[in-house]
Amino acid sequence: MAKVKSISDLTAYKNAALAGDSKHIVDSSITRLYVGMATCGVAAGAADVMAALQEEIDKNGVKNTIVIPTGCIGMCYAEPMVEIRHPDGKTVFASGINADDARKVVTDYLMQKQAGEFIKPNVGYGKQVRVALRNCGNINPENICDYVAVGGYEALAKCLTSMSREGVIEEMKKSGLRGRGGAGFPTGVKWEFGFKNNSPSGKKYILCNADEGDPGAFMDRAILEGDPHSVLEAMAIAGYAVGADEGVIYTRAEYPLAVERLNIAIGQAVEKGLLGEGIMGTDFNFTISISMGAGAFVCGEETALINSLQGQRGEPRLRPPFPAQKGLWYEPTVNNNVETYAMVPAIIAKGADWFRTIGTERTPGTKVFALAGKINNVGLIEVPIGTTLKEIVYEVGGGLPGGKALKSIQTGGPSGGCIPVELQDTPVDFETLNAIGSMMGSGGMVVLDEDDCMVNIAKFYLDFTVEESCGKCTPCRIGNTRLYEILDKITMGHGTEQDLVELRQLGEVIKDTSLCGLGNSAPNPVLSTLNYFMDEYKAHVIDKKCPAGACTDLLTYKVVPAKCFGCTLCARVCPVNCIHTVDEIVGNNKKLHVIDQNECIKCGACVPKCPTKAIVVE
């Protein structure tokens, strides 16, 4: 089909898509097999699964059945997975399958109606509400037809043909959308700054921050891999509102599939005239390019990102001037996160009032979280803002495995805080999480149970920020290193009570003085655990014990004399030969074994070898 030159062209294109390539979206007369083909799925073997499904369907001439590659469905714990939508409206999942299993899905399940072990009932999304992820798992991200078929680019068309630039900004402000990258800044207000700031050259830029660096966070990747056009459309809308004709997506180089799909999407959008010159017959021009980062976490900070785009060292700039005043190439620049953009077309299409029906008064809408740690349903979830942590853990995440007790929920990525179980009824929102010493961040959520040592957890996160500090300002460069060293000392059993005072003091100064958000928030894991888990810290420094048993240096391996019968098995397996006999006869005229505490490296090799379970860990 030729370029889309008007709204009616777009409608015609949509209708053609629904009748053709994209009929799976509306046609419930056929069986549709959606295969999760995001990086997570592909890594688990989804490509083989999909090929096997198609091959078996073709081989057996299964009628009215189609296979659709789609993005992340969100259920990481079940990858590779196939969502099977039957004509009768019933949906089931085939999860954790390989290519052979996939063949059986066709031959046994589809052809002979034998469910077998792989077929699982549809658990649904429960408390989830999918706005940013609305298309992920429902469309083929590599085919623009699918996106248009679900109403894609209609929001852009609406803006270009029936809304003024101010009107778009007003609508965004009214929606109350706040930046989902972590700062929670009102998107409409940001766009308004961009709109009002003009440079002599007249040039402005729209940036998309896709430098998702939090370990374990993959919200942005899922969107880019599952629904790239929603981001492109939103950037074009932002460009129209702000008065920019150029957009740049700054993404991680470690996201090759996202980059590939973005490139495909940009190519298709340009081909269709939905990006480029004179979009949809108007005088609005907008181009988008992709720039890949080089692996520095701090480049997710927007001014560092801008420096990096300019070929400079990725380190934050002083503010003011803000990017909306002097951003990329010192021109007014509006930068939003992927997830924020993904919500924009939905807001424009359905209206600000609709968006405000979701979430809280202060923060309307939803938030995507990457749920990880000690949780049954590890994966990507999207819930209304205001959902409580407890609801997320138990109702969406399926609770903790092994019946272990919830101890803490860590939110906000490496610079977030650890929230104790006592506060599990806290509704998630920017302010509520900040108030309890954590933060929303970009959406990492790690569930911790009784086996996790909070001192060790704080150390783990700090280790990340220490490595990733850009080194520009003193508190982050040296201060966080010192915080880490104190934590290390504590986990090694050399900590003192004074160290706990130092930790808090130094942590607070670092928060107070750092130049950018990375440094400002780096002490959060330490300060929040000091606030909520002081007893654990005290156990480490006073009793020299790790209550969770995670800090190996604080463990003591001992032989219980009454149980030892001198079999020598433990001494034989000890890699450092620190188990010796003493002159005390036990059992069968053999000598009692003892562990030399000065030599023991706490490897634990002796424990399983002891036939009488005489070796205990304290």
């Binding site: 520095a296 060292r313 380190e315 002083l318 003011p320 220490v466 490595e467 990733e468 500090s469 850009c470 080194g471 520009k472 300002c473 003193t474 508190p475 460069r477 040296i478 201060g479 290193t481 010192r482 060293e485 130092e502 003091q505 130094l506 100064v509 107070d512 003085t513 750092s514 130049l515």
Partner: protein, 581 residues
Amino acid sequence: MANITLNNVKLQVADGITVLEAARANGVNIPTLCHMDMADIKMINKVGTCRVCMVEVVNPNGSSWLAPACATDIWDGMVINTNTPRAIKARRTMVELFISNHPKDCLACERNRNCELQDLAADLNIRDDRYAGKMSKHTKDTSSRSLIRDPEKCVLCRRCETMCNEVQTVGVYSAVNRGLETTIGTAFDFPMLDTACTFCGQCISVCPTGALTQISNIGEVWSEINNPDKVVIVQTAPAVRVALGEEFNMPVGTRVTGKMVAALRRLGFDHVYDTDFAADLTIMEEAHELIDRVKNGGTLPMLTSCCPAWVKFIEHQFPTLLDIPSSCKSPHEMFGAIAKTYLAEKLGVDPGKMVVVSIMPCVAKKYEAAREELANDGNANVDYVLTTREMASMLREAGINFNSLPDEDFDKVMGESSGASVIFGTTGGVIEAAVRTAASWLGGETIKNVDFKELRGMEGIREATVKAGEVELKIGIAHGLGNARTLLENIRDGKCQYHAIEIMACPGGCVGGGGQPFYGNDRTIIAARAKSLYAEDEAKQVRCSHENAEIKALYAEFLEKPGSHKAHELLHTQYVKRDKL
């Protein structure tokens, strides 16, 4: 004007200034480390990295936050407290963190007693290293003849980077690595010797600690002085005499020419001469070359070539323009060439046993002295270069009470100089000296008014047209390599036409050289040194180089005439194309 409340005092301050500026203007001291503002030379290091200058800003609702005073602009109604426990704690902690990652060899550090970190630690009463821990590990770069980079002493103030990249536009330095290992390095970690560094030493001038220091040749010079087989002669550059006194707490701009000569004799140098003599010689050759180029259609403009950092800059950055600098060696090299021939004969000394030491305001001269093409018969013209600071160190080491020394005169034969040569030490001075002689020669007689004030000043790029006989000479002047780059680009692109151009690598010329006493960010010190040079020029009876009696004797007895074969052999050189990286 804006109304602010500073430490509970209501004040009116100018709009658009920073908290730091507002505080300093009102007598409130806020310590700083990375901050450096020398706007006149575009050295504005407002990076806000050290976080030492944190002050507490109070919001209308009573809450407050910490802001870096150096990089936060004031606003109307702003309430600032500079000395609250929170601000002071933050400040102290920053300095304690610096100390925890800083080598503790202060006693053996070149910047001992002259270190901004040391001062901060003392001012903030820091008495222990309470954050002692892992320290960043880096290798010292001693590859060059001019400067040492010791990244372990670096506090990441970024001043050297700003100076090298923004002011000098040489671009050798950039921050590298992450976290605690972050440091300032060169591209691909090349040793300084293999970079496009010009060795101007301005990075040393702005470094707050001992991370950037000069290569010291004091030990070698002591050995030579103490070697009875050697005849050690010393020469002193013009800019040294107006700055050396600062090292001994004399008022800025004090001329200490006589005491300097006396001091060098007491250090044990066998003869004490003046580079100014050689500056006059340079003018003889350079003015001759200029007139030759003007009259005979040679390449114009002619660029002065006294400054080795500038010469290296053009070799790296503009290798296609290497036919425009004058072929004249720099004055101290000319001095060495003549000393080891003409003077050696006069003194009856075997040139192989003669050691020439230069006291220079410059660290690039150390590198220059080692340039192979600046040797005659394999014997370097100059054997050692000491900076003004090194000379002061030697005097202190030798226990010489500089301030009470008598004034003494330079030795004869190569000790006399004209006023023209004295002003070599400041921007515009070399070209003014050349114009004095060129105009005299072109007009057929020594000019009466020798003060070409249109060539003087501290503007980064200046131009003037001066009448020299029948010829209108169009002169360009630039100091600071960034300005030099602008001027050269204009010449390369045919945007401007000059007969002659003077370029000095250091802002202000040699008075602001990288080997001079540290002046912090007080550019008035540089102006005072320059003023003092002009005063010495005015006090001289002989104001033009070609009137210098000893120069006349040198030509009559040895060199024949300017531009002679012998002069070319000894006093001229050629340039080398170098890579940009």
